[in-house]
């Protein structure tokens, strides 16, 4: 029967896969393993062939089934003692820790398309004259938007402003066209906003009365990026608007999140304000003039209640916030973990300076990489949420981001300190083989401590379960001298 029909190409490919994967299987089991797979493949092919159902679909299915030879071979490979020992050693290595952090950073870079928000921070124009203005009432607290008639009064009477526009951000509405639907940022604004921002559409024209202006991302989602569909209708909530213009691909306002600009003469009852000031105007002068205009023309009394921030300053706020969060978290963490400067000086005096420097370098590198990871991830993924959640406040840097950064910075420091303590003081490998010590009956029915061992024989970490009041040291590193080396060499 076997000699009657020549095996088809797919069966030969399967056999080849088995032979390749067999190289991973330990030699003692290899022949048995290979025989089993080859026999299964042969029987499957023969059964289907003589049943008259062998076709292309079946040959593909057989090859797909044969892909399992690799996980099966890897399972055998990983079960070998030397391999397991190597995996454990690799997992304990300090380089693995740094590599994992660097890898996570690379994954975030790939997922976000190369840190666009970070690049935005780097590429900020130096002579930026755009200013955000919002209200921080004396009574009632919290940041708020301004009444919608204020920007018109400032535009008419200010001598320090070149142009001014109000806007209101929401994400509540689903925007749909006959080609697609999405929930982008909906920015209700007035036509002059685009003049303030200094942007011109690549297609169409900014509507003077009512219409919708899409950024490139929203244009692709809602109209499949088809330039012929300019003028098509989109539905925002319950109202129908006509798409009037498309903005350039490199344009974004506050965030790179997909945005729809709903242009109206009267965008909302309360608005945030963005304005372009004349060169050389300071925030103090501008505040004085805008407060005076508000009092004289629209009878709002904003003295001491207006908040202003240049766009550049607002966009850099996350960097300042993160730096503050890192500082606070570092201080809290060192305070809570009983790490004092004198400990470091004592370590420098008593232990090899080279070993202390290596530990300090590893800790610093770990903190830097983890901080970069959390900062980048927070900046790239929280900004749209922050802008939406806190649209009525400072749109570029909400308290959400501040809290997120404080929590993340705390996590970074606490993890870095805990990881550092769980490592050998000499070779920086993770300690292992925890052994409980003491008599459980002597100390409140519990063990008195745990000892962890360095696999290289550099020392033992003694961690007491209960620390007496006269001894603040929570754990103690006991170095092992040369006489122990033989024992560890034998056990390796």
């Amino acid at each position: 029967m076997s000699g009657a029909v020549k095996p088809p190409r797919s069966v030969r490919v399967c056999n080849l896969m088995v032979r390749v994967a067999a190289q991973l299987v330990p030699a003692a089991q290899r022949d048995d393993w290979r025989r089993e797979w080859l026999a299964e493949i042969w029987h499957r092919w023969q059964f289907l062939f003589y049943a008259g159902v062998w076709d292309h679909r079946q040959s593909w299915a057989l090859m797909r089934n044969c892909l399992g030879v690799f996980p099966d071979a890897i399972w055998h490979f990983a079960l070998q003692d030397p391999v397991q020992e190597r995996i454990r050693g690799w997992a304990r290595s300090p380089w693995t820790c740094l590599g994992a952090l660097a890898g996570a950073l690379a994954v975030v870079a790939l997922a976000t398309g190369g840190f666009p928000a970070m690049r935005q921070l780097v590429s900020l124009p130096v002579n930026d004259r755009l200013v955000f203005i919002w209200l921080h009432p004396t009574a009632g607290g919290g940041d708020k938007e301004l009444p919608a008639d204020v920007p018109a009064a400032w535009a008419a009477h200010s001598k320090l402003l070149e142009s001014v526009a109000g806007f209101h951000i929401s994400r509540q509405q689903t925007v749909s066209s006959r080609f697609g639907s999405a929930r982008p940022l909906v920015i209700a604004t007035e036509p002059v906003l685009f003049q303030v921002l200094g942007v011109r559409p690549v297609l169409g024209a900014i509507p003077s009365e009512s219409g919708v202006v899409l950024d490139q991302s929203a244009w692709k989602t809602l109209c499949h990026g088809n330039p012929r569909l300019l003028g098509c209708q989109v539905v925002l909530g319950k109202r129908v608007y006509r798409v009037a213009a498309i903005l350039p691909s490199d344009f974004y306002f506050l965030t790179r999140h997909s945005s729809v600009f709903m242009v109206n003469r009267w965008p909302a009852d309360r608005v945030n304000i963005i304005a372009r000031v004349k060169p050389g105007v300071s925030i103090e002068r501008l505040d004085g003039e805008l407060v005076r205009i508000s009092e004289d023309t629209v009878y709002y009394f904003f003295k001491g209640q207006l908040r202003m921030s240049f766009v550049k300053q607002a966009l850099l706020t996350p960097v300042y916030l993160f730096a503050i969060a890192l500082g606070v978290a570092g201080f809290l963490c060192f305070w809570a973990a009983h790490i004092r400067l004198r400990h470091i000086f004592v370590a420098f005096r008593t232990v090899s300076r080279r070993a202390v420097a290596r530990r300090a370098a590893f800790f610093s590198l770990k903190v830097v990489l983890a901080s970069m990871l959390t900062f980048a991830a927070g900046l790239e993924w929280s900004r749209p949420q922050s802008a939406v959640l806190f649209s009525s406040r400072d749109p570029a840097s909400g308290p959400f981001l501040l809290w997120l950064y404080i929590l993340m910075a705390m996590a970074v420091f606490f993890w870095a300190v805990a990881d550092q303590r769980a490592r050998c003081r000499v070779c920086l490998r993770l300690l292992c083989f925890p052994v409980r010590i003491g008599c459980p009956g002597c100390l409140l029915l519990d063990w008195s401590g745990t000892e962890l061992l360095c696999t290289e024989g550099h020392g033992v970490l003694h961690v007491p379960h209960l620390a007496p009041s006269w001894d603040e040291e929570s754990e103690r590193w006991i170095s092992l001298d040369e006489s122990w080396k033989g024992l560890f060499a034998q056990t390796k």
Partner: protein
Amino acid sequence: MSGSAKLSHTAAMILQTLDNGCNYGFDIMDATGLPSGTVYPALRRMESEGWISSEWEPEKKALAEQRPARKYYRITRAGSEILEASQQRYPLLAKLAGAKARR
């Protein structure tokens, strides 16, 4: 029996299929719908736990039929006990494995 708590639904399905009379790796794949990359490592693990045993069919018989000998798997007594516990944990196990086998 200590392993009963650890037995996943996938492993329980494979055990149930073996108990139903499917003795070869590819047959188990057909009956459970699981890929070979899941079935074979699971079989190895269960064999090392002692829940199943494997054996080559007699070489003479295979030679007489001019075909390579196959390795077949059988559920052990320990495996049967584990399976019973799993059937209580996953009440639809027998029906599920049976239905897939009939498909």
